[in-house]
Symmetry: C2
Amino acid sequence: MRILPSLIVVAGLVAAMPAAAQDLAKGAAAVRDKALADSTGWDVVESLTTEIGPRPIGSPAMQRARDWGVATLKRLGFENVHVEPFTTNAWSRGAESAAVVGPWPQKLAILGIGGSAPTPPGGITAPIALFTSYQAMIDQPVGSLAGKIAVVTQKMPRNQDGSGYGYVGVQRRAGPVEAAKRGAVGYMIRSLSTDDTRLPHTGAGAAAGIPAAALSTVDAELLEHMVARGQPVTVHLEMASSVNPKADAWNVVGEIKGSEKPDEVIVVGGHLDSWDPGTGAIDDGAGVAITTAAAKMAGSMGRPKRTIRVVMWGSEEQEGSGAAYAAAHKDEAAKIIVAGESDLGADRIYSLSLPPPAYAHDAMKAFRASLAPLKVVVLPSPPRQGGSDIAGLIGLKVPFVDFNQDASRYFDLHHSADDTLDKIDPASLAQTVAVWASFLYTVANSDVDFRPKPAP
Amino acid sequence: MRILPSLIVVAGLVAAMPAAAQDLAKGAAAVRDKALADSTGWDVVESLTTEIGPRPIGSPAMQRARDWGVATLKRLGFENVHVEPFTTNAWSRGAESAAVVGPWPQKLAILGIGGSAPTPPGGITAPIALFTSYQAMIDQPVGSLAGKIAVVTQKMPRNQDGSGYGYVGVQRRAGPVEAAKRGAVGYMIRSLSTDDTRLPHTGAGAAAGIPAAALSTVDAELLEHMVARGQPVTVHLEMASSVNPKADAWNVVGEIKGSEKPDEVIVVGGHLDSWDPGTGAIDDGAGVAITTAAAKMAGSMGRPKRTIRVVMWGSEEQEGSGAAYAAAHKDEAAKIIVAGESDLGADRIYSLSLPPPAYAHDAMKAFRASLAPLKVVVLPSPPRQGGSDIAGLIGLKVPFVDFNQDASRYFDLHHSADDTLDKIDPASLAQTVAVWASFLYTVANSDVDFRPKPAP
């Protein structure tokens, strides 16, 4: 007979607990193992990427995605399946092209940054002013970039926690405004990416009244090679886009109703919208799939005591769905036990943070015991991020968790044509489902409370 | 004092040789070490990719590349720099797009295959017939694909010697004709590539009178997922292209004239033309750079006894330059000592084959001794491939060599937008230059003869 070491550890922890806690721990382990062997997560993201594909807010595909979400939740047995409509600002890409016109004519691979202004018909042609760091552009005086296309080519570091993205993100988000302030007639950045393919990576930026585009990392380096020759480099940029300030959008919701305390709700989800170049597999078909599959697994052991609610948020990339959700649910906020968003791809969870007040509760002991074979570090620090779709709930003092997925290769793919199903490893995806499923199961079948106790 | 093991080995081999052979061996080692420390190879490919970029045959860029080649060879001190004009068939890409129109509308990333017919204006729309192996399509009876777009999604294996490309190559080269024969109105293949990016890979195919395109590997898998659902999948394909059957083309030539036997010539080179999506860095800016730099290094020890000739062949991708070169030089063929082409990227040479008659000659002993620190296996088998631009010379019984570069990642990049400078590792590039330089030096400064001796 062969006993897995991880099972011995779990058995040891379980033996030290009271009977109800032992039941929870056994259930958590069972839910975990069920999730590891189950294909629901993969099936959901395969279906979404194959049958819908890219689904930017304001597009017909996003309407199809809404219907897909309703049908999927119903098919998987969720209750109270419905859509919660709202309106939001939607920037839509038109035809885009860029090329060096002199001294060494070559095409450049670009994608417009969300919020970019269109160029006049026929485009603009201007010399570039290239900065290898964002700070170097910020250091330029107001007006000094008049008539130029400002180009920032700062590189993004590759880190497991994805912190490189936050670090260089300012050059996409605020950069267009800062370039315009200094007189630039256009703005281009090296894509916020760790890849070396000739595929640019888009994303949202602040509307600045000038055209703004992301170059592939390859094209950013090509411009650096040209500029190093010491001659002025001239670029032609042609971009179309449109804006609908009141685009229809929807959060799609399904529940597993609690048997004992149905008004106590756990809210989890991913976002249904995506950028347009890829099929939105890792951002965020995976998050939709992980949380949907986890809820199904958590509910598969018999109806839970509390309600588990899955939300497919409908406008994360250009914002709107988190605020709309919080506004619609503010009266319910005090009864939301905890919220979580899965929005960092499909690679495995390597660490997580729980709200400290509940750390020692039997339910969290059971949850933590179930993590041993999944190789997840439970951090001593409190959660810090949550996710943009639950930021509104966090603002309403709803407790939240951080389940940290390995983002080492996430930014090779994110917001580019390479965000596709083939990049998802089914085993890694199943690991994330197992973590979320065990969490949902233990919280939904206990009285764990993540809110700080009032001082006595 | 610290003696490198590789130097001890070389010193041992050298000590066992006669004096002239010792000089050759010392010279070969010196040329090798000079090449390892020299940046000429990198500088040449950096210049070509930055200042010219993509250079398909028949394009204005190819004319600029010709002038760049002449200027580069002159700048590096080559003699008798000239162009040898010829005409050849040139297929040129126009606007191209493809999309699934039903049941699940999505755009597809494609590149036309060279030789493809254009679609009628407005494109064609037809159901696809998908085959996961080429043989499965070949097994269909004539006429059975009437009205359909045939799709072959066979995968290319990743091998160090690049043999996967030869293995699946038939689906791009002959596939369009075979599909047309069976009645197909269009033809698409999974790109001949080992990558997983959403960038398609082009290449030449036989003209078949139907539109033919390569899907990115990602899009080939997307179609497989759709077809697996059991419903007919309909694709819209729109492709433009033009053909110039007598496009101007040029082989660009430079020499280092031999001091003792100037009419005995060693011919080496790469090809100057490239496909259009990338900047032609690995295919074949690298080959141009490697052989040009190697010749310069081999000639840097004093004028060689024989002539070293570098040829930048002008139309490899769509053929023409090898045949034109052989036709123009057939009277000289008996005096061409050996020919070699570098056309498999910029990664290191891991093995090589020499024509057996000269294997034991002192010059080849000196060459082989110089390879020890470069980690190159000298194979016991004779050369088999040569390269398409020297195939014409090989047909004229000119001896040739195979210097085998590691192609493990070559087909991630080849014929796609990802064929760019940033993919070249300068240290690997320098290793290849060192191998070629030592070979050119030892052959040019000896009387080694690679032709079989007549039977006595």
